[in-house]
Symmetry: C2
Subunit: 413 residues, 2 copies
């Protein structure tokens, strides 16, 4: 089951442009998997700025601790990002921190940069020590493999950071009116599948962006993308999104908040992150449906998001979607449990184009047949108006199938 490509996968991996100032490498380091690349390195031109967002878990992995520490010193520049798959280096105590340090120092030595300008990520099983010998042996070979970023290099990089993902995830966009591009790769199969933990994205642009602007753009884009998807409501120890701006397109230098090109940068970044986020949902463990949930009429946008996530996380809604069953009573239940203001007696529900309810009761015109026809498609849209205000939000999820149970009740043993 975990080996078959998701039925919701895109047809092909995109042909993503090189990013000036970024070199890429992968290597089969034998961290856990046999005969596939499990180490990824991107080096970054001098002067590259960096922004990051991380898991809210109170039990974060050693690489998350490392990234937070190196970002906190005020020098928000980066020279490299190293990632291994197969081992999350989470809940590994002092040994985990030592493995993180060893990784950063080995790469830094080989590149002639400072260790605290090397960013780290790890994804895989929690609670196992990263094998030191494999790191000491594999990391120099990784550096030997460095080449200019290229379409093939992006695809190989996206492959090396996979765990239970059934396909590589990449997305890119050009910044409107500029020559600069934004390119991203990601892994995640489920917002959250912490034992093969979990959601990582590395995003690169050749624009030059002042670090606090870069962070603000990234935080905005993450809130609109990765923070609006859910597969199983579990939260990883390792979630990491890093955005690097090499500045090699030196005439495209974003330095002030009132730069008229800033909306175009934000838009391109939103596009790339939302595309990656959707690809993660499409690879949700066991998923057979890609589901968009839009909530309108909430007290405010955050309330709308909370109601949307209550619907998207409900096991009963998700099993009904898997069954292509227009069981709209479960949507009412999920709205009721969200804890946000909603007027039961003004609730309106749509399944695809079919309006189900109005004024707290099913419409005479409602056709279960038409609703079911929509649910039989691969892509399902649910819309709910809760009738109390002007807040709205859209979130994305997948259905809950026996495949999810099979994958998660099975893969570790």
């Amino acid at each position: 089951m975990a080996d078959a490509v998701s039925p919701l996968a895109p047809d092909t991996f995109p042909t993503m442009p090189p990013i000036a100032g970024v070199r890429l490498a992968t290597h089969a380091g034998g961290i856990k998997y046999e005969e596939r690349a499990d180490l990824f390195l991107a080096t970054l031109a001098a002067g590259t700025t960096v922004a990051g967002t991380f898991t809210k878990s109170l039990c974060p992995s050693a690489p998350v601790d490392w990234c937070r520490q190196v970002l906190s010193d005020g020098d928000r520049t980066a020279r490299a990002i190293v990632c291994n798959s197969g081992n999350a280096n989470a809940f590994t105590g002092q040994a985990g921190w030592a493995a993180a340090q060893l990784t950063a120092e080995t790469i830094a030595d080989a590149l002639g940069v400072l260790p605290d300008r090397v960013f780290l990520a790890s994804t895989g099983v929690i609670g196992e020590i990263l094998p030191e010998e494999a790191l000491r042996d594999g990391l120099p070979k990784l550096v030997d493999n460095l080449t200019t970023s290229s379409p093939d290099g992006w695809a190989q990089s996206a492959d090396a950071i996979r765990t239970t993902d059934t396909y590589q995830k990449g997305a890119y966009a050009r910044i409107g009116g500029c020559a600069s591009h934004i390119v991203g790769i990601a892994k995640g199969s489920g917002m959250i599948a912490p034992d093969m933990a979990t959601m990582l994205a590395f995003v690169f642009t050749d624009a030059a962006v002042e670090p606090s602007l870069l962070q603000r753009c990234l935080s905005n884009a993450v809130e609109r993308s990765f923070n609006r998807i859910t597969v199983d409501s579990d939260t990883s120890t390792s979630d990491t999104v890093l955005l690097f701006a090499t500045g090699e397109q030196i005439d495209e230098d974003f330095t002030t908040e009132d730069d008229p090109r800033l909306p175009a940068l934000q838009e391109a970044l939103d596009t790339v992150l939302l595309d990656l986020a959707h690809q993660i949902v499409r690879d949700g463990e066991g998923a057979t449906k890609f589901v968009e949930v839009t909530v309108t009429g909430a007290a405010d946008d955050m309330a709308a998001k909370a109601i949307g996530l209550a619907i998207a996380n409900s096991p009963l809604v998700k099993t009904a979607l898997a069954a292509e069953d227009a069981n709209w009573g479960r949507i009412v239940m999920a709205v009721g449990k969200a804890g946000e203001a909603a007027d039961r007696d003004r609730l309106e529900i749509w399944i695809g184009p079919e309006q189900v309810t109005a004024e707290g009761w099913v419409l005479p015109s409602y056709s279960e047949e038409r609703a079911t026809a929509h649910l039989q498609e691969d892509e399902v849209v649910i819309r709910v108006d809760v009738g109390v205000g002007n807040g709205n939000a859209t979130v994305w999820t997948c259905d809950l199938t026996a495949g999810y149970i099979e994958i998660n009740a099975g893969y570790r043993s």
Copy 2:
């Protein structure tokens, strides 16, 4: 699958004593099910006091609205409780309220009491109108069937309120040092399975208890029992717990807060409600394991409960339990996502008697074989100390199996 009795079911329904002042009836009213009782009535002696707790859903059912209204008038006495199974009378607009009124008025007329002293509950599918003819026809027959409460009557009553429950649920206790008993029946198959919605409990005592004391005892007992169980984290439109004190044991009159027998009343009530709560978890849809999660060392008791519920609700923890897989990294993940203070580097985890971790890392003495042996039992105990304070709590859940998906992706169509 839904027809087979849960492997975790008690061997037999308990032989529960009559409660003076309570008469019972059931009737096969054809609300939804064929050839089984789906109407339940208990009548209550004049002077019976009542307390209730209800769903926190913002889309409650018409019977929940009704009970809240009749409790709000200050006259906290009751003369009857009527329940139907097969139809939740939730999200049914004005027609739902009219059906609730019709039910209360029909029963009140037949008994010669006021309608607002009749309590109501409904459980079953959301969004369908209760059939008026079936009510007009069935409710008088229900009244005709009334007999003194008896062991057989309790068993038949517990049967009539079932939906997807695979067995009847009942529990009783004697109030220590008193002649009075507390008897309860419940339904629920999953804390929450809203489409066959959901968790109901009706509890009766022949003690006389002043209404505000009764409410306080009930709220305490619910917080320690029904509020500490979860099957799938979904919240019903219909959750209702009603406690009736007939006062027929007239020399056992609890009227003041400093009554020295009050702790015995609370203890007996706690016993009955916790027993019923455990029976609901044991009937969790698809469940093969009864799981107790105890959290110690939290900032306070509510934080401990939140962490316990994060573990108990995690699909990844629950699928690992189904697989008898000692995948303790998922417990770390769940602690991390709970949002309550926890010291990753002092975290201690036990699976049954086997200590897994200490000081943020797996113990050298840890034996996965011993942990797995514990997980192969029907009853599993997980304990976590989060190392920051003195708060503690225990919650109960079941595992998440393909049976849950099968039941919930299948039963409505």
